[in-house]
Symmetry: C2
Subunit: 160 residues, 2 copies
């Protein structure tokens, strides 16, 4: 069987709303660019670590290997999280939402940080709420300390 | 000042990578459809409740009101979470990721469930991992019990 045939039969066709919401067939909805959204949390702390996209191939590899694969929209390439940094994400659980167009990975990080800036999480800044309309909204750092040196880990290589 | 001017000046222009990743100006990146991805977790339990999109207006309203507003791609409308169900989401914290193209809301749910199917979370099914290539991937329910009756809460109204 070819890889294409393997991918095609791995995912079910989109059925009725009832089948999609209450069924047991995995029928992920990829958008017009062939991508599906995926949020990753730390399985131990519950913290949101990162947000990225998968194409069919990345999702199939994630299911087969138990490690998180994504598709980089900026680079136009499939990538295994950790392939540059060594900081892979082992998938404890992969969940899908009601209409099967978003994924949630509970992961066991295999390194100190998931963010290419050297932080544990990509979400290291908070937006100031209830700022009046007309004023530019400001950010503030939260748990923004670096846990690794991105220069050392990545050198000049792209993030991953 | 018009609403449009208020929106325009609320968000900073996209700057250099350094400014976007390390700066304090909120410069969210909306995609070609004018949308940004947003994951919502329960501020108390850490559970991922839902995933949705915001347009500029939804994000501005969320910041101004401290309640979660989204943009429905299927209906083509702005919506306040809870406008139909009463199950609003109070925003405890709104975070943005390194490249400012994804948002994370830590919310205090103002009702029993965030999912229009009647569950606490939209992510009530897990994908079976390491299923062999060529076989259709199956789902299994996890914490899938209903906490409200969607027929009673929504009647024939759209989800929200």
């Amino acid at each position: 069987m070819t890889a294409a045939a393997g991918k095609a039969s791995r995912f079910a066709a989109r059925g009725t709303t009832q089948e999609i919401e209450e069924g047991l067939a995995f029928a992920p909805k990829f958008d017009q660019d062939g991508l599906i959204s995926c949020v990753v949390t730390d399985a131990t702390t519950g913290e949101v670590l990162m947000f990225a996209h998968m194409n069919e191939e990345a999702l199939a590899r994630t299911i087969e290997t138990g490690e998180a694969w994504f598709y980089s929209r900026s680079r136009g390439t499939l990538w295994r999280k950790g392939e540059s940094s060594g900081h892979a994400l082992r998938v404890n659980e992969l969940r899908v939402d009601c209409d099967q167009d978003a994924l949630w990975i509970k992961a066991q990080p295999q390194g100190p940080g998931a963010c290419h800036t050297g932080r544990r999480s990509c979400f290291y800044r908070a937006v100031r709420l209830k700022s009046p309309a007309g004023s530019t909204t400001q950010l503030e750092f939260r748990e923004g300390e670096r846990v690794f040196d991105p220069g050392e880990v990545y050198g000049r290589k792209p993030k991953g």
